[in-house]
Symmetry: C2
Subunit: 331 residues, 2 copies
C-alpha cells in the first residue's frame, strides 16, 4: 500500500513518516501531498498564539483532552511550532511535557516542529503538515505557536479560528505585542485567570478591542464586566463578536465554555461563508509562497556562482548599491 | 540642492523625508539610496532585542544618552521597529515616550517604523533606513525591535552587534524564546537587575550559553558569579566571549560598563575581520530579499488576473493541489 493510502486510513506510522517528508520538503512528500490534497478541507484548523508565559501548551493540552472527553469525541492533532536553536540542537520544547492523559490515546496525534530556515518555508511546512493530518481524518488540528512575532502571526493565519492567549499581570510592553496579534484573534482567552489582576487585564483587552472595532458592539461574555457599545448602523448582522473567555488551564477550568465558543465560531464561519473565504485566502497565501520559492530556484540557475560573487563583492566595496547589484544579476 | 546632498550634510528634515521615501519603497527613495550608498559603512549598527517586558526602550534611551554624554560624544540614531496594528492605526509605540534629555538634541535622531506588510519588506526598509542614517553621519544606529519572534531576529541580524535583553523573573516559557534569540546575541544584558532573582537569571543564561557553546570558555564578567569552563583546544584565540552585563536602565545603572563592552565588541569585529564578514552577510541577505521581490513582480506580469483566479478556484475546489496550481501558473 502506498504511503498516502496508509495515511488516508489513519495509519499513525505512515502519518508520522509523511509529516517528516513534508517538513523536509522532499519530492516524495510533494507527490504524496498532490495525491492527498483532494481529501483535505474537512478539519477545523485552530491556531493558538500569544505572548510568552501565557501557558499556551497547557491550554492546548486541555483543549485536546476536552475534545477527547466530549460525548462525541473528536480526533485531535497538535502541531506545536517551536523556536529552534543550536543551543538545544533543535526543538527547545521538543515533544515536551504533554499530559499523561493524552499519551497512548490513538485519537490524539502530537507533532513538534522546529522553526528553522525561512519564515516562508516554515509556514509552508505547517500548511503541508496540516493537510496531511486533515487527510488522515483528524477532526481538529491545533496549531500552537510559541511567541507572538510576525512569524507566529503568519502561522496562526493558516487556521480557521485563531485563539489568542493572554494572562493577567504582564507589563505594558506586552500590550504593544498584543495589539499586533489581537487583530488576528477570533477568540481571546485569559488564562491563569485565578491570578490577581484578571479584571484589569480583561478591561485592557476590551479597551483594545474597542479601539480596533470602534463601530462594533462588543459583548464581554464572562459576565462580571459588561461592556456593550452601540452597534453601528452599517455593521453586518452576522459580525462575529470577539468573545473573551477565562481559563485556568492547569486545572481545566473554563475549558467546556471555551470548546463551546470554538464550536460557535466554526458554525459562524460556515453559516456566513467565511469558512470558504478563509480557505481561499489561506490557499492564496500558500500559492504565493510556493511561487516565491520556485522563482528564486529558477533564477539561481541563470547566474553562475562567479557572477553572484562578483556582484556581492562590488556591493560590499560600495561600488554598487543593493539595487544596482540586483540589476546586474537579473536576466 | 538634491535630497541626497542635504542628507549627506546631515539636514534633519532631509533625513526625515528620505526615511519616509525609503520606508514607502518609492522610486525616488531607491534613486537617492543608489547615490548615497557609497557613503555608508561607517556607522556601528547595534540591534537590541529581547522578550516583551524587558525594558528595551528605556535601555535604548539610556544607551543613546550615554553616547551623547561621553567625553567625545557620538551622533546617535534610533530606529524603533514596532508592531503595527489597525487597533491603533499604525505604530503602537509611535514616537512614544522618549527621554526628555534626548529631545532637542541635534545629535540624536529617533524614528519609529510600524511592522506592516511582509517580513522581507520590513527588513528591507530597516536596512535602507539604516543606510540613510549612516550616510547622514550618525556614528551609532540603535535598531530596537519589540518582541522576540523570527522577524525580530531577522531585523537584529542587520546589525554589527546584537544585544539581547533579559530580566529576572520571567517564566519558563520565556526560556524557550530566549534560546532562539540567544544564538544571535553578542552581548547579554540583564536589565531590571535590582529585582529579586537576578542571580538565578544570570545562572540560567550562563547555562544556556554553555549549552550553546560547550567548547568555549565563558567568562561571566559581573564578578559575583564566576563560571569558567576549560577552553577547548581548537577554540580560536580571538573568539568573542559573550559577556553578561547587569543594568537598571530606569536609573542609568550599569550603562557606562555596557558602553565599554559595546566598544570592545566593535574593536573585536574590526580586529578579527568579522566586521567585513558581517557586512557581507548582511548585504547578501538584502540582495536576496530584493531578488525575491523583483522576481515576484516580473512573474506577476506573465499571468493575467483571470489565469490566476482560475488556478486559485481549482485549488480551492481541490481539483488542483498547491503544487499543481503552481505548475499551472509558471511560464
Amino acid at each position: 500500500m502506498s504511503l498516502q493510502d496508509s495515511v488516508l486510513q489513519g495509519d499513525r506510522l505512515a502519518v508520522s513518516r509523511l509529516l517528516t517528508q513534508v517538513e523536509n520538503d522532499t519530492p516524495a512528500g510533494h507527490a504524496a501531498l498532490n495525491q492527498l490534497f483532494v481529501h483535505t478541507g474537512k478539519a477545523h484548523l485552530i491556531g493558538i498564539t500569544g505572548a510568552p508565559g501565557t501557558g499556551k501548551s497547557s491550554l492546548v493540552n486541555q483543549i485536546a483532552l476536552h475534545y477527547r472527553q466530549a460525548p462525541q469525541p473528536l480526533k485531535v492533532a497538535i502541531v506545536a511550532v517551536d523556536p529552534s536553536s543550536p543551543f538545544t540542537g533543535g526543538a527547545v520544547l521538543g515533544d515536551r511535557v504533554r499530559m499523561r492523559e493524552l499519551s497512548g490515546d490513538s485519537g490524539v496525534f502530537i507533532r513538534s516542529m522546529a522553526t528553522r530556515g525561512s519564515l516562508g518555508g516554515l509556514a509552508q511546512a505547517t500548511a503541508g503538515m496540516s493537510q496531511v493530518l486533515d487527510a488522515a481524518g483528524f477532526d481538529v488540528i491545533l496549531i500552537e505557536t510559541v511567541g507572538a512575532g510576525q512569524s507566529e502571526v503568519e502561522i496562526a493565519k493558516l487556521a480557521h479560528t485563531v485563539l489568542v492567549v493572554d494572562v493577567p499581570g504582564l507589563g505594558d510592553d506586552v500590550q504593544a505585542i498584543k495589539a499586533g496579534i489581537l487583530e488576528i484573534a477570533d477568540i481571546l482567552v485569559l488564562n491563569k485567570a485565578d491570578r490577581p489582576g484578571v479584571e484589569a487585564a480583561e478591561r485592557a483587552l476590551l479597551g483594545m478591542l474597542k479601539l480596533g472595532h470602534p463601530t462594533k458592539h462588543l459583548v464581554q461574555h464572562h459576565g462580571r464586566l459588561e461592556e456593550v457599545l452601540a452597534p453601528a448602523d452599517d455593521a453586518p448582522v452576522d459580525d462575529w463578536l470577539i468573545p473573551i473567555r477565562r481559563t485556568v488551564a492547569t486545572e481545566g477550568a473554563g475549558l467546556p465554555e471555551l470548546l463551546e465558543v470554538l464550536a460557535a465560531h466554526k458554525a459562524h464561519l460556515q453559516n456566513t461563508g467565511d469558512w470558504q473565504r478563509r480557505e481561499r485566502a489561506r490557499l492564496h497565501t500558500q500559492l504565493q509562497d510556493l511561487l516565491q520559492q520556485s522563482l528564486m530556484a529558477s533564477w539561481r540557475n541563470t547566474v553562475t556562482d562567479a557572477q553572484y560573487t562578483d556582484a556581492l563583492d562590488q556591493l560590499v566595496a560600495r561600488k554598487l548599491s543593493p539595487r544596482q547589484a540586483l540589476q546586474a544579476l537579473l536576466p
